[in-house]
Symmetry: C2
Subunit: 234 residues, 2 copies
DNA sequence: ATAGAAAGCGAGCGCTCGCTCGTTTTTATG
DNA sequence: CATAAAAACGAGCGAGCGCTCGCTTTCTAT
């Protein structure tokens, strides 16, 4: 029917998770496994956002999903695996989304930067609970998971830094240190999902936010921004 | 001897905590109470940064401080109080630090903004483990503590927004929405303590960071930045 | 030197946690 | 419809949690 189902719908994300962690899930039927994984992960994201992952017990999770303790354990082999499932899916999604830049856009550093900013914010909007989870919970976790999160963040910054450097080489951007500039852009993107309540309270929607961040960054980095009071304001 | 002891040394901070929470501490001698509170809080900050506050047990804390379980309970009346002690000290310190602007600086919006940026970054540097704790643990806080944290963050943004608005009124800054601009500055300041490891790895020190953020923000907001490739780069 | 107060001690209480496993229910197949 | 495989169940295990309290040690003032 619908030719292109939403690739960021929970079921679609969980189908990829199942594929990646087939050995951790003892339920054989893929459709059933995907469906129940979606129930479980939806519940764990919701509960964790309220009380944190560590403070969410498997009994809470059993109650929220309607499954039993034993039932849960046929969909993952331990609480830590559940965390890794979510984290890796987030990491893979970022990598995939930022690499999907149209070739003609990638040719122009300014357009590429605008595209990256918008793509990142839109991705984190589509997968908001996932990103909040990965960001908020990653620090308290076992070294391999923590390394995965850190490495992913660094990779994202490298993508931005590469575009900034290409632009600097062509005189489009003026910067002292592309790494520092990229490092400063990152928290602006993250703030959209980390402090979502703040922006909601102020009536700032996603389009306004993308426009605001883009104007902020371009005014800071472009070599020749339109000068004077008529420039696009933040 | 030293006429002005460091107001952000752990002992000084703990003296203020003791004053504020005198009723929760059953040890009577102020000097002894301050000293041991410092040992306890230093330990809890260290352990929490590694494994999170909730995952730090009072037995861990007893081992780290050399006190016994019962001994700990003469310095606070419950784990949650320990958390509130640290959080309120952070909130009060921010409020105090940002309000301490010299009168002549406050007259000039551009100078005031520069001063605020530097003051905030330097404060979070001096109290780094405290800020990391307050920021990272905030989501797991009980509702009253969470409200305190949110309100404090909002208050900080209001300070910035007020300066931006004063500057915009005088034509110094060009902005569409002072609240959004202030909201975008905040994560830049927070990144210094949240992602400290990232900047350390890149050899970016505090002076470089302050200069980078200041240049970034001023280029984005000043109505008449020096134009062309010779502008102060980020 | 000594007695009363202050501070420190740590085994133990009630509870919840992640996880297991023998059993029951559901589902798919001939 | 019978039957075996798949999935779900949930009481129970050992461990660790926050916290208490009767007792001992240390300090302080006479």
């Amino acid at each position: 029917m619908d030719a292109r189902p939403d690739p960021y719908a929970t079921e679609a994300l969980c189908a990829r998770i199942l594929e990646r962690h087939r050995d951790r899930v003892s339920v054989r039927k893929a459709e059933r496994a995907t469906h129940n994984l979606a129930r479980i992960i939806e519940a764990v994201l919701k509960l964790s956002s309220r009380q944190g992952f560590h403070e969410t017990s498997l009994r809470d999770l059993a109650r929220a999903t309607g499954l039993s303790m034993g039932g849960l354990y046929t969909y993952f082999d331990g609480k830590e695996t559940l965390l890794l499932m979510i984290l890796t899916e987030v990491v893979e999604s970022v990598q995939g989304a930022l690499a999907a830049v149209p070739p003609d856009v990638a040719e122009d550093p300014r357009a590429h930067l605008r595209w990256l900013i918008a793509a990142h914010i839109r991705l984190t909007e589509a997968m908001q609970p996932w990103f909040v989870f990965a960001y908020m919970e990653a620090k308290g976790f076992p070294p391999p998971a923590k390394r995965l999160a850190t490495e992913s963040e660094l990779a994202t910054e490298r993508v931005f830094a590469a575009v900034l450097e290409a632009g600097a080489a062509r005189g489009v951007f003026t910067l002292g240190d592309a790494d520092l500039a990229a490092a400063l852009i990152k928290p602006l993107l993250q703030d959209w999902y980390v402090k979502r309540a703040k922006y909601a309270r102020r009536g700032i929607g996603i389009e306004r936010y993308i426009a605001g961040v883009t104007a902020f960054v371009e005014r800071a980095l472009l070599t020749h921004p339109v000068s004077g009071p008529d420039r696009t304001p933040v």
